[in-house]
Symmetry: C2
Subunit: 576 residues, 2 copies
């Protein structure tokens, strides 16, 4: 896997070359962030021709390594103004891996508004007019592309939100059923793809050989151990496969950390109605699937397919963060309304976290009533039609707050906070504050040691130990995101002595290297350094490493406050 | 003049105390910026209870000193996120001076949405329900307040834009005819007043004595010389009184610096249609007034009253920046449409510069056609009704650009550029870039030496000398803004040997001081230091001292580009 495919979206031309220099050894997030740092002027407008959208499979993607099919997408974020890597499942990552493509780089931008479709095959790259797909939701787009290109292809596309270049727009990836249940959700990367006027990218690995392995036997052995590690851990082997990620609703609610009514409370009185247990029960009753991988080769299978009360498909990839954002944060307790909102977000191409928090802000501003699922559904539908109110909602929480004159907006670096209140999960609060990505749980999931007591035990309600914890998790996560591994492997890796070594063994066997676990740490650090450097050039300072003032209010039930100073947080960003 | 009136907008209570410590000697912008620096947390949300709105007359305001009736309004800006001082004429400044009130400070914010009216008299301060005025435009609000409180009172109020807390909202001041022709326009201060739920402030100086003077004879002599200086300069004595500020349309167009069609060209083919000469001709034909002061005691009288083709009042304070923004930048050439847009902005309470540039961005995004005055009028009217598209437009250029996915947005620190293209008036480009206020011509009007050859002669098309020029002008301006003097006095002061000394003579005679011109420079520097310090605490770095990338495109007719690096600009902000 050694080639970089650069597509000039203005000229509709492309160039494919072996990766050179420092890019040759990088994959996934390490590669997207390095290219953004090296090639995108940090001060450019994110929707201008100067920005680039980079799509990169992880280093292990395309091999048989379990859970290695995550795709990294990077750019300067139109939402945060900083660097962004957002990753997702789907089929694209492994197919790019098998095609030997390390990265697709979308460059420049067209002078008119016509959209194109990129089709990548073993021996061809085509940039075709996409007029027939313009205005379609992701579901119909993906359906038609599978009809035209066959059900083996990977598809990533944008919906009406991305077409309109709205900053809550994500890039959706077709799941194994060809539905838009997967998303490179955060940071408005769909708007960048929209600014390049690329409606969809189709990746067909037909005719390719297996990914070459330097030592196939060693790789096989390491992967066997890898699967064993994942299957034997209670979180990755049992909890997630059984109830999906929404198993966390009851757990986080119990911990008093489920942000409710725009981060006013840590518990939601209707948590049971939107819990993973309830979702699983409904799926079992109505049909659908309780277990599904977000990409082929996944052994955790934490995803799902959710049907409505008539037993018809309603949505898929109905995850914890989504259910929280569209449910507890808005106080919408009808799970079918929450599922419909998820379906709409996937189809229109909106980040569910940003959208849920935005709906909370809209309720705060009196635009629709608290907890009114039907009103929320009507509002989100207006994003697709391009009405002004839809453009407001589709630009996220800060934007909607500004439109409505609301000053209670839970964001860091203009990105909405995810599903853990930082006052009662302080480790993840440190991640929100200091991650180069803005408020993002995935970039240093301190919830594990804080609440789940996986990979350590650090008190979630106190400051002690949480800065160091978040820092170490941010480093490990950056490395995992570069391998193309699903973040959830960390639960098992953190609790297993040879966890990191097993990942290293797979990398060494694939590439003929002799890396050590220390090298993995070094890789993680170098990625974060790249990302902080970009943000610094873009004008970010420690002042931006902060939660809004209202997090100084005590959060029931623990009545803890966010009490870190900016200075106390800085060590999480210093690596020397 | 020694008292500070603090109003708690939550409790509807007030407190009036002698100014203490460093505040005692300050006035106008020096005072608003010092209070903002000392009392407003730089990282707070500008619409939160932590922000304060400070209203301060200048040091000379209330005396007979010519042109000393400008009012400073300060806060953390909801538009830029940095410190803001915006100043305006009207009647309030001199009346506060005569009441001995150095500053009104609006603090905290109400828990409900009910608006109040503040009425300040010689012996009373009342905070009254304002329900009957809510939703009214500034024109009707001011008319009713004059009916209730008499035609002698000063009024400052917000329109529907400020009520909605939109970030292009200004605070309007009733002019000598009781109309909303004056405005503390820039930086969205109307939204801060709206967040405090104060619809209007009425200032009645009935029963007050004259402002005490330490040496009345010396003051009289200095003021006599002061009037002489203003009357004898060709700009303040002839050009401005004859044609108003719009005399600049032809001059700046001729200089190739009149930003046209969202800053694409330096000349507007229909400049003549919107020129000061044409406006004057129409006023003379239709009735109205070609000469009018923005406050009593003005001897320049650059303002006007503009009638429609039927001879009925249409607008007033129909100034160069307004005509450019709503005219050339949008390519609207019908002057009566431009006048109607000005009237609407004044009534709704929108900054005309921000709104004109926003309309240009809306045209860039295809929302309405270029040059379509009627469509622009319909759009601006929607700000008053609170429709979503109105909320978009009323939040300014960056916001509208984000809503529409436009990346050509002429701003610095999120504030729209005024009426001089920085590529062909490089001195003012330095001011736009480095002023703590964001893009603002008034904070260092290098147009004077660059184009008008007043107060020096620095080539507008080259870099040489323009950083130093802008820096010196920014220092002088800060001091002028503290005295309560109109900025236009600078034309005469810069060209007159005893200009600064005469201002110092008035201050010394009023306060019994022995200041020197050097002290004025020191004051200007200390103000800028306060402001840069606040912005630094708010997270601004040199990265924010830059013009958008598209200013690297050559600007016809001179085909010059913006070619300063951030490093080259920094000396304009360093004072030691």
């Amino acid at each position: 896997m050694s080639k970089i495919l650069r597509i000039n979206t203005k000229e509709k031309s492309y160039d494919i070359q072996d990766a050179q220099g420092d890019l040759a050894s990088l994959g996934g997030r390490a590669l997207t962030s390095r290219i953004v740092l090296n090639e995108v002027p940090a001060t450019c407008h994110p929707l201008s021709k100067h920005n680039k959208l980079i799509v990169a499979p992880g280093l292990l993607s395309g091999t048989a390594a379990a859970n290695s099919g995550r795709l990294s997408v990077g750019a300067k974020s139109p939402l945060t103004g900083g660097i962004k890597e957002s990753n997702a499942g789907g089929l694209v990552s492994q197919k790019l891996g098998r095609l030997g493509i390390k990265a697709i780089v979308l460059e420049d931008k067209p002078e008119n508004n016509a959209f194109s479709l990129v089709v990548i095959k073993k021996d061809s790259v085509e940039i075709l007019p996409a007029d027939e797909y313009v205005g379609l939701g992701n579901a119909e787009t993906m359906k038609r592309l599978w009809e035209v290109y066959g059900k083996r292809v990977g598809v990533m596309s944008i919906g009406p939100a991305g077409e309109q270049r709205l900053t809550a727009a994500c890039i959706n990836l077709a799941d194994t059923n060809g539905r838009p249940g997967r998303a490179a959700g955060r940071g408005g990367l769909g708007a960048v793809m929209g600014s390049k006027r690329i409606k969809a990218i189709v990746v067909d690995d037909g005719g390719t050989d297996k990914v070459p392995l330097a030592d196939p036997e060693a790789f096989k052995a390491a992967n066997r151990r890898w699967v064993e590690i994942l299957n034997s851990h209670p979180v990755t082997g049992q909890a997630l496969p059984t109830y999906g990620t929404a198993v966390l609703i009851n757990i986080i609610n119990e911990a008093g950390a489920l942000p409710t009514k725009n981060f006013r409370f840590g518990r939601f009185e209707h948590a049971q109605d939107i819990s993973g247990e309830h979702v699983t029960e409904l799926i079992e009753k109505r049909g659908g699937k309780t277990k599904e991988g977000c990409h082929p080769g996944c052994v955790i299978n934490c995803s799902n397919v959710y049907h409505d009360k008539d037993g018809k498909y309603l949505t898929s990839g109905f995850e914890y963060e989504t259910i929280w954002a569209l449910g507890a944060d808005t106080t919408i307790k009808e799970i079918d309304d929450v599922a419909m909102l998820d379906r709409l977000c996937d189809d229109i191409g909106l980040d569910t976290i940003e959208t849920g928090v935005t709906l909370g802000v809209a309720m705060e501003g009196g635009l629709i009533p608290w907890g009114d699922g039907k009103a929320a559904i009507d509002l989100v539908k207006k994003v697709a039609t391009g009405e002004p109110i839809g453009k407001i909602i589709g630009n996220g929480a800060v934007f909607t707050g500004q439109a409505l004159g609301v000053d209670r907006i839970p964001i860091v670096k203009r990105q909405a906070l995810p599903a853990y209140d930082p006052r009662s999960v302080k480790g993840v609060g440190v991640t929100y504050s200091t991650s180069p990505m803005g408020a993002d749980h995935t970039s240093g999931y301190a919830v594990a040691p804080n609440i789940l007591k996986v990979g350590g035990d650090v008190d979630p309600l106190k400051k002690e130990g949480n800065v160091e914890l978040s820092k170490n998790l941010q480093i490990a996560t950056a490395a995992i995101d570069s391998a193309g591994l699903c973040l959830f492997v960390a639960f098992a890796v953190l609790d297993t002595e040879d966890g990191v070594q097993t990942i290293v063994d797979m990398l060494n066997a694939q590439y003929g290297l002799s890396l050590t676990p220390d090298d993995v740490i070094k890789l993680g650090i170098s990625i974060l350094k790249d990302e902080h450097e970009f943000n610094s050039r873009a004008g970010f300072t420690k002042v931006h490493d902060r939660l809004p003032d209202f997090f100084k209010e005590p959060l029931p039930p623990h009545n803890t406050t966010w009490d870190f100073t900016e200075e106390e947080l800085q060590p999480a960003k210093h690596f020397d």
